[in-house]
Amino acid sequence: MNVTGGVRPTRDSFAKEGTMAISAATRRSRRVTAQGGIVARAAFLTPATVFYSLFMIVPLLGTIFLSFTDWTGFSVENIHFIGTANYRALFADPVFHQALGNTVVFVVIAAVFKTLAALVMALLVHMRLPLSNVFRSVFVLPSVISVVVIGIVFSLILSPSLGPLNALLQAVGLGQFQSAWLGDGHIALFILIGLDVWLGFGVYMLLFLSRLVALPKDLSEAAVVDGATAFQELRYVTLPQLSSVIGIVTLLSIIDSLKVFATVYVMTNGGPNHATEVLSTWGYFQAFSQSQVGYGSAVLVVLLFFTFLVTVAWMIFLRPRTERNS
């Protein structure tokens, strides 16, 4: 016993108590540090969360809410809940049907050609042919220019009255191919699709390229040693290894084309006579020109639904397969 009547600590007990004391201090320290970490993490996450909530979640929920109202956009005091009336009205709106059909045509063709063009160009650029680097920049260039500027420039080029295209065709003896272009309801949509493909494929080409440069070379070399032709190597070695990127590019290009707005708005405004109307332009027109914000919101919610559907379908059916392959 010691003077205080306690038990004198042995070396072992001291060591044990000391360890316990250190452990408790460490735990306290870690707990405090962890608390600080949570606060810090929350603080750093706050700006992104605020941005995302303010500019994505709130407008999204607001649009869905407005689609069940008859709001005209003039006064927030005059919002009336009208149930599913706007959605029922969609069924009777021939322009909505036309816009829906145009959107589907637009998305299918644009997504297929964007993915194909990106893949083919990536393979060609990856072959390190002469001027490959130049073409890589050239293909990406349209993606970095303002879509509005491109729309205005192409409108001028295609203008039958002022543009150079018809004059050029005439000059080279191809006058029979002159057209009203964007004024011709039979081809205007396909011109816009072509422009969308041209605008978008460059970025997707970079995605393919980034995967191509990361592919292991041993499989290709083994295939060559085994006597595979260039096509067989592409078909059975390279493309299977790109399947995950093909899936992602397809998904992104579908979503990209579903959202198309600026080129259509600038170049045709949905015309002539709704021949190039897509869901985004029709929804915008209803909400902002016709003062039918509720109805326009319903149109845009349909667009949102399709985007959601495509994303979910990809996640359920394609993603597991592409991840497995990759």
Binding site: A40, V50, N269, S291
Partner: protein
């Protein structure tokens, strides 16, 4: 120390986030709620209106250095959505330029505009066409006045290239038959006779309105607008559509009629390749500063032989001033309105080529081209405002615009065109 550092970092991050939130949500001083600015939104971006408003604002700011006018000019196609959004919020501008008629009725219904009846009653003797039907309809809702006209638009104008007419030994047409004959002559020489770009719907619709007013008369068209007897597929309306379809079918419009917009239309005319173009008086205003490279003339829309109302015209109080109910600085806004409609300022506006609504302004200082347009406008027996301004957007900006586009490309017959408009009018009634 690490804990302290964490806390400091967290505090800094949180403060940053809060500042960001405050900035994004507009907390603190806001644009319209200011004591040092009088906020004005308008479509006067350039041309005569742009020069006019710049001069008026300059005059105001010199006299009122403590309450300067902060002007936000917005392009025509974007103006309405911006205005409606601005007025539906809690912080609208103090004073606005308004394209009136249906817009006035919609904004009044939503309680967004101040009743200006007292001001108008006290000052209306200073204005031209003050009691004309098209002026009254612009701003009056249930007997009260909610806006004040500052400028008129006449649609009764055809611009022509005098040099091109002279080159081919042609005279300025004095009636519609001569106009058609000269158009045919130009066409036979491989020259497109009339510049028109109808991508946005309204330039082609203005042709239709001009035919409608001569065939049916302003009062009949108002009857159709008001659902008080006349219908959009009555014979005179079908005839007006036929007049337009005939011009299109004869190939008098350029091949880009369905895809070119207003700017392309005016560019084609100003290129000197096309002898005629129809658009409103606002185009003349822009020519004062930037004259055409050829001798440009104006004439009233030729009178159609046999038309029952060939002396009626299309025109309206296109530019008005209104005051948002939630705007600020109300007394100063009226003071600004007094300046804007003063004889001195109106004379300056007219000098730029603007058809000022203030009496005597155009007569005093307007360029000859504007004086001639106003004289034609003043001599009309009946004045019809642009129909697209008078009817709900579903009927005007949607169906009417698209049907005119189809008429120009031959996709519908005049009867189908008229039936579709009537059916839509019934649907939106």
């Amino acid at each position: 120390m690490p804990i302290a550092q964490h806390r400091v970092r967290a505090a800094v991050a949180a403060a940053g986030a809060l500042t960001l939130i405050a900035a994004l949500t507009g907390c603190g001083t806001s644009a319209g709620d200011t004591s040092s600015n009088l906020t004005l939104w308008s479509e006067w971006t350039n041309g005569a209106g742009g020069a006019g408003i710049a001069h008026t604002i300059d005059s105001w700011n010199k006299a009122n250095p403590d309450l300067k006018v902060k002007h936000r000019p917005i392009g025509n196609e974007q103006y309405f959505p911006a205005l409606r959004t601005g007025l539906s919020g809690t912080n609208p501008p103090d004073v606005i330029m308004l394209e009136p008629y249906q817009n006035t009725r919609d904004f009044v219904k939503a309680n967004k505009l101040v009743d200006m009846t007292s001001w108008w009653t006290a000052h209306k003797s200073n204005f031209i066409q003050a009691d004309a039907q098209s002026t009254v309809r612009a701003c009056t809702v249930n007997g009260k006045v909610y806006c004040v006209p500052v400028g008129f638009n006449s649609h009764d104008v055809i611009y022509y290239n005098a040099d091109l007419l002279a080159k081919y030994n042609m005279q300025v047409p004095t009636d519609y038959d001569q106009f058609l004959a000269e158009a045919a002559a130009f066409k036979s020489k491989g020259i497109t006779p009339i510049s028109l770009g109808d991508k946005d719907g309204w330039p082609g619709s203005h042709w239709y309105f001009n035919f409608v007013v001569q065939r049916c008369g302003a009062s009949t068209v108002y009857s159709a607008i008001e659902y008080t007897g006349a219908k959009w597929n009555d014979p005179c309306f079908v005839q007006a559509a036929t007049d337009l379809a005939k011009l299109a079918k004869a190939g008098y419009f350029p091949p880009g009629v369905a895809s070119d917009d207003y700017d392309a239309m005016t560019a084609l005319f100003l290129s000197g390749k096309v002898p005629f173009m129809q658009t409103g008086s606002w185009f003349a205003g822009g020519l004062v500063d930037q004259p055409a490279s050829f001798k440009l003339g104006t004439m009233a829309i030729p009178k159609i032989t046999g038309a029952a109302h060939s002396s009626d015209v299309v025109g309206e109080a296109g530019d008005t001033i209104a005051i948002p109910t939630k705007g600020h600085n109300r007394a100063q806004v009226y003071k600004f309105l007094n300046l804007l409609t003063s004889q001195t300022e109106a004379n300056f506006w007219a000098k730029q080529g603007y058809i000022s609504a203030v009496k005597g302004a155009v007569a005093n200082d307007g360029p000859p081209i504007i004086q001639k347009i106003l004289a034609d406008f003043d001599s009309a027996t009946g004045v019809l405002a642009g129909v697209d301004l008078e009817v709900p957007p579903k009927l005007g900006e949607d169906v009417m615009y698209n049907q005119v586009s189809q008429l120009l490309t031959g996709s519908v017959t005049p009867q189908q065109f008229s039936d579709k408009i009537q059916a839509t009018a019934e649907a939106v009634k």
